[in-house]
């Protein structure tokens, strides 16, 4: 359990770095580190498949997508960047305080103890669930990937009237 708490604190630090990071590239890196820590946590919580998925997709694919998006957008000049980041720091300086406050309050009170979580005796394995019980969701995933492909075709093409 202590290892979990250490990992959770590392996750919080990585998230704070993501949100308050100075340039977008640092923020993306912070997001990738958060994903890695969450993946390790998932692995410790008996969910290896989800952990692998999170690691490969979130820490890998999304980082690549973000870095490509950022490099397609023109960066600010150095002077503008400093002004913008000072402005950002002013707006974001309350966040660590808020986080620590929230964490202390939540840790102090905890969840109300008035319900009993169930314990499913004969749980199914991930593979069984995914392939034989949740086929409608898999179908939905296929459709959404097609929708994403169509969206990319619509949005990423340059207008021809240039």
């Amino acid at each position: 359990m202590t290892i979990n708490i250490i990992l959770l604190i590392a996750m919080t630090v990585a998230t704070l770095w993501t949100v308050m990071g100075r340039s977008l590239l640092k923020a993306t890196l912070g997001l990738a580190v958060t994903s890695v820590v969450i993946s390790v946590l998932m692995f410790r919580l008996d969910s290896p498949m989800a952990a692998v998925f999170e690691l490969s997709v979130c820490a890998g694919l999304i980082t690549i997508i973000f870095v490509s998006a950022i490099s397609l957008v023109k960066p600010l000049t150095h002077k503008e960047a400093i002004v913008v980041s000072k402005d950002r720091m002013k707006r974001f300086r309350y966040l660590p305080l808020l986080v620590i406050l929230f964490g202390v309050i939540a840790g102090f009170f905890g969840i109300p103890n008035d319900f009993k979580p169930i314990y499913v005796a004969l749980a199914n394995d991930v593979r069984t669930v995914l392939w034989s019980l949740r086929q409608f969701d898999m179908f939905g995933q296929i459709v959404i990937i097609i929708a994403g492909a169509l969206g990319v075709v619509v949005l990423f093409r340059e207008k021809e009237k240039r």
Binding site: P112, I118, S132, F136, F139, V143
Partner: protein, 480 residues
């Protein structure tokens, strides 16, 4: 075999996107028309083989139950009608055939998503299809990539994602007490642990997410921007069916069948409904842009639906569902006419319009029918659904709500007649007199308008027949 409703469009899209592009661009329109008409035909005839669960070889592949009661039938009918109207209008407003090909593909995906929402009986599948619909709607809004549309699309995407994240959070908390995510399992589990603060919190967050999706006050910030900035064919789709399926139908299904009613939920819904009616109507009074006025009017009418649903009686809920159907029909009609006007004049600013019904007679007269139905004037369809809702309010003792709802109809009358007078009656302004092609629009606009107007009139005039065939079955679903 209701799963065919989502399978066949998917295979169609995959087939159409194979390399024989030139050939497919001509056929995709008629393929879509064919699919949607098949959907309309099957939803009107309830007893055909299509709906028998036992016959489904294809259904058994999915191993899940599908919800095929009267509520789903009406929603499928609405989806098919509005999608067909949007398809027809797009033929004229998106002239380039390659663009139209992409548009029709995205429209089919949105239809798959909405059909999936309506026939599923599982809370997580509901989430998946909600996301499909939301994503395809976002891409549709941003279709022509002008600045306003992109901004509206981005706002919609962010708020819709926040709403679905709230729903997921609620599902996670509910999984603490329920061994599965299907409706029946969750309903059984929630009956056993009723008064826990965590479960009530989960239900509350879920309902807030639904309110954001449905565009109810105070979460309606994205709605006027998205409806106004979208291209005309997409506004018809959004206002006619997407917001209602994603937010309102989901609320009805989940609350009536999963969470169950209690006093808090009922009063919350009635309060938010009344609030939406008033704020939508008051905001619509001051609008100068035609599409924005219609957007606020949509917020107001959806308030009526939620008000009727919040009474908790079977009659109120049947009235709410009936009003969903009527609103789909007359709001699409008004938006089709707005699209026609915008195509001819080039702007949707009310101050620059006037006297259009002399030059565009069909648009003008169908618009009058749409306006009268929205205000609830007998014998059109809108009158009957509003009457049912108000009767349900009186029967359950909420006299104040009923009176305010009736008074709000006067507000509705005010802003819609104002719009009608400014746009269609009165004198033609000088700068428009010289527009040579200010004549009636082509059949792609007039045919849907006339058909929708006919539907409104006939549902209103033949109301006893409609009541027996459609409304009473819905009442019986809700009487548990």
């Amino acid at each position: 075999m209701p799963s065919l409703l989502v399978l066949i469009p998917l295979f169609g899209i995959i087939l159409l996107n194979l390399p024989f592009r030139r050939l497919n661009e001509k056929y995709v329109f008629w393929f879509a028309v064919f699919l949607l008409s098949v959907q309309i035909l099957f939803t009107i005839s309830h007893h055909s083989l299509f709906w028998q669960q036992g016959m489904g070889y294809i259904d058994s592949f999915f191993k899940v139950d599908f919800a095929i009661d009267s509520l789903s039938f009406i929603m499928l009918l609405c989806i098919a009608i509005v999608s067909m109207v949007s398809l027809s209008v797009s033929r004229y407003t998106i002239p380039d055939p390659r663009e139209r090909f992409k548009f029709i593909n995205l429209l089919m995906i949105a239809a798959i998503g909405m059909n999936g929402i309506v026939i599923t009986k599982d809370l997580f599948s509901l989430y998946v299809f909600l996301e499909i619909t939301a994503l395809s709607s976002v891409v549709l809004i941003a279709f022509q990539k002008d600045m306003n549309a992109l901004e509206g699309a981005f706002k919609y995407l962010i708020l819709s994602s926040i709403a679905t994240i709230m729903m997921l959070f609620s599902i996670a908390l509910i999984l603490l007490v329920s061994p599965g995510t299907s409706f029946a399992v969750i309903a059984a589990a929630l009956k056993e642990s009723p008064n826990s603060a965590v479960i009530i919190f989960a239900m509350g967050i879920f309902i807030c997410g639904l309110f954001i999706k449905g565009g109810l006050v105070p979460f309606h910030g994205w709605l006027p921007d998205a409806y106004t900035a979208a291209p005309s064919a997409v506004s018809i789709l959004l206002a006619g069916i997407v917001t209602k399926v994603c937010g309102i139908y989901t609320a009805i299904r989940v609350i009536a069948f999963v969470f169950g009613f209690n006093e808090v939920i009922k009063s919350l819904f009635m309060f938010i409904g009344l609030f939406s009616i008033l704020i939508g109507a008051l905001a619509a009074l001051g609008q100068k842009d035609l599409k924005r006025l219609l957007a606020y009017s949509s917020i107001s009418q959806v308030g009526y639906i939620i008000l009727g649903f919040g009474t908790g009686t079977a009659l109120g809920m049947a009235g709410a569902v009936f009003h969903i159907f009527n609103h789909a029909v007359f709001k699409s009609l008004l938006f089709v006419n707005a699209a026609a006007v915008e195509k001819r004049i080039g702007s949707s600013d009310l101050d620059r319009m006037g006297g259009l019904s002399y030059r565009m007679p069909i648009t003008g007269s169908t618009s009058v029918i749409g306006v009268l139905s929205t205000c609830g004037i007998p014998p059109l369809a809108g009158f009957w659904s509003k009457l049912v809702i108000i009767i349900a309010l009186w029967q359950s003792g909420h006299y104040m709500y009923g009176t305010i709802a009736v008074l709000a109809s006067i507000l509705t009358l005010a802003y819609l007649l104002l719009m009608q007078r400014k746009a269609f009656f009165g004198k033609l302004p000088k700068e428009l007199e010289n527009l040579k092609d200010l004549k009636e629009v082509g059949p792609e606009f007039t045919l849907p308008s006339i058909i929708l107007a006919m539907i409104t009139i006939s549902v209103g005039v033949f109301f006893p027949f409609v009541f027996d065939k459609f409304v009473v079955p819905i009442k019986s679903i809700f009487m548990q």
